[in-house]
Symmetry: C2
Subunit: 218 residues, 2 copies
Amino acid sequence: MNSVLRTTVQFMANGLTKRQEELLNFLKLSHHQNGVMPSTREIQAHFGFASQTAAMSHLRALERKGIIVRLPGKARAVIFPEELEREEVIDIPIYGNIAAGMAEAVAEEKEGCVSIDIASLGIPRNARTFALRVRGESMIDAHICSGDTVILEFREPRNKDIVAALIDGETTLKRFIMDKGKPYLKAENVDFPDLIPASELVIQGVMVGLLRNGTSRW
Amino acid sequence: MNSVLRTTVQFMANGLTKRQEELLNFLKLSHHQNGVMPSTREIQAHFGFASQTAAMSHLRALERKGIIVRLPGKARAVIFPEELEREEVIDIPIYGNIAAGMAEAVAEEKEGCVSIDIASLGIPRNARTFALRVRGESMIDAHICSGDTVILEFREPRNKDIVAALIDGETTLKRFIMDKGKPYLKAENVDFPDLIPASELVIQGVMVGLLRNGTSRW
DNA sequence: ACAAATGTTGACCAAATGAATAGTGTTCTT
DNA sequence: AAGAACACTATTCATTTGGTCAACATTTGT
């Protein structure tokens, strides 16, 4: 009597069986950890199959159900359809402070990263961007809250742009106003005064987007 | 006299030569369009090289400069290091309206997609999420503006959560308040009245994040 | 002028990899 | 009870693919 098979074919919400779900998870895990899709023999080894055909037929099943796409004949050519439709994703470094000149983005001070597609932010693909965590309420009337993450582009500010500026060795978010050729910085909160730059005005970036986290207070 | 070679070795900002830059662009384009990395022979064919060795040496150069990582012996195993560090990216469909029951997310009504890493939103990897474009000023006191994109999770609301609710066949954003066992909906704008549900209260999702675009007005 | 780095050519090998065929047992639906 | 979908074993073949060797040309810095 053959007691190897004890399979209970249960269908999941997405129309996959338990085993197919396991295979899909392995594909995703492998792709995320190693950066490449596993070959049929790597799938075989991971599940302890005695032949590649088992892996092959599972891949065929996933393809038939539209979960994956494969390029026939090509090696490791398993694709998740959603990744093909996806816009280009960029990685935006988050800095706590940017005290220095910002000429070269210093990886050491990076606190984390936001990965987001460029279309959602509406920025050009070659834009140099970075992000800052907002502390304080100085821009609350522009509906920028403490805890928000603002996305900034490294470029020249235009009138009324919201900018990150270096003031007294600290980076703060302010609205950039050009008044008769003279620039000054305006807080979007009546409790904060306008700032007329004494000497040089150092603009670190122009706000192009904002990200608010569910765990933030609002 | 051999007049094939007209190479001017110019170094780019990232330390790559012109040719290496072209190769990198082909890798990125190919990866984004086809979903897989090109093989050395596909690189060869694209650039019209007479042998794989040209492609190989370019790949080696890119690897030496840290632009790519390769897994020796494995097929199409070229990896961009930033993608390895990247958190898992999910694709959140954007709906204009969600009039229907929302039991099954209907792809037909999809207006677009936001691709973002799960860590930036702070949501579990298996969360069922969708996004809505905000119209109107009813949540302005919660600093949610017209034009913002709110990210919502399909789950039961807790007290004081901001939710998308179905009211008169339209989806609107409101704060969910549970008062002595009776739920009602509160607009975060003094000009808008509270809403006490006449019959059934249909909650479509709970706000877990917000995305504001640079092109939005503020 | 010389060395080092870069870009190229052509031919070849061995390993990695996808794919096919034939057959067994299990579970689910009708 | 029958058919379909599912989960696998065992073996074999053909192609894809990475990797190497031996040269040679051009540019760049010392």
